[in-house]
Symmetry: C5
Subunit: 94 residues, 5 copies
């Protein structure tokens, strides 16, 4: 899984019914320290994420279909969690 | 999922019947601001996309097979939507 | 899917019976303009492709297994078509 | 599979029940000599790995679901082993 | 599929029984001319490969599970063949 920050929303004319009522979000990929790495993903929202929030993304079709509870959805990337904290520890202290 | 712009069409002698009657499009990958990132994909068209249009692509086999309603198709990349707008918001404003 | 040019053949002692009688080809990845991008794939031939030909490759296991009509084959990359032409259009002209 | 070093833990509000009670770890990718390559993964812990430990990660959904003994989990990356040693040999000596 | 050279072995405490008795090899990725490209994979050995040998690797879970004849194994990368020769041809001569 990877980390990202929600940057906006994509509006797309998609005929496939599995997308009806789903928000399609633009997510910039970030490093664990919060800096952007230059990449992005277009991901379906499953947690009601807002712009500026750090999120956890699963980029795998079967995971996405499971989260959306739809075994047939043509979706690969889904936001599965809002990140509350990333705790970086020193070796030996945790 | 990723964003791209349709650049042209690939004509290929493919014997597999799942490709009969399908347009195979050349899509340049783009960043959310519309600039090209130098990569491309060859994707099957599922939305009647035209050259110059910004599209949403799913690059995963099971998604592609689902969109084409063919559980056996040897296809990985499919254009699932035409992008109408990409709205980039400021944090806290959406 | 991606584009490549067949460069040669790999001879390998593979015990798995699904490879018996299959040509394993070395394919250099190319950009749509025909220039090589520095990468390569080792792909199973399904269309009797020859050296120097531009081909269309699907790099996904379930697609490869479907092309080879073998649901159990341990194969990820398969050449599914010989490219006859890549037509790059100007926006608005197609 | 790839190698990494556990760097910390991600705390995320995930509603999907398959994540309940699972530690989500931040793992920096490393080269076989132990140096970091600049990338990272967010992986679910299946071996009670601690910060500073070198681990083996499988980055594939069906593997992750199998390790967690849950065929429906929306998880792609899982830590499957703690690395005790990486033995680099000279050709002909093993 | 991709090419690599076996460099060594990884010793890891993995509780999953599918790894019992399996050698986990360190494989440096190579280009078709034999030069290393800087990347590596950790792959399960299925062909009794030795250090220094050039091998063919399938990096896909369902392939790996098929080679190991275990539909449940949490394994993505497997060495499926030892490469005897890579024949690079000139266009038109094969």
């Amino acid at each position: 899984m990877i980390l990202g920050v929600v940057k906006g929303q994509v509006y797309s004319t998609i005929n496939h019914p599995d997308y009806d009522g789903r928000r399609i979000l633009l997510v910039d990929r970030i490093r664990p320290d919060g800096s952007e790495d230059g990449g992005y993903l277009i991901a379906v929202d499953a947690v009601d994420a807002g712009v500026g929030q750090t999120v956890l993304i699963v980029d795998e079709g079967n995971s996405a279909r499971q989260v959306l509870e739809n075994p047939d959805a043509p979706i690969r990337s889904v936001i599965i969690g809002i990140v509350d904290a990333i705790e970086v520890s020193q070796a030996g202290t945790s």
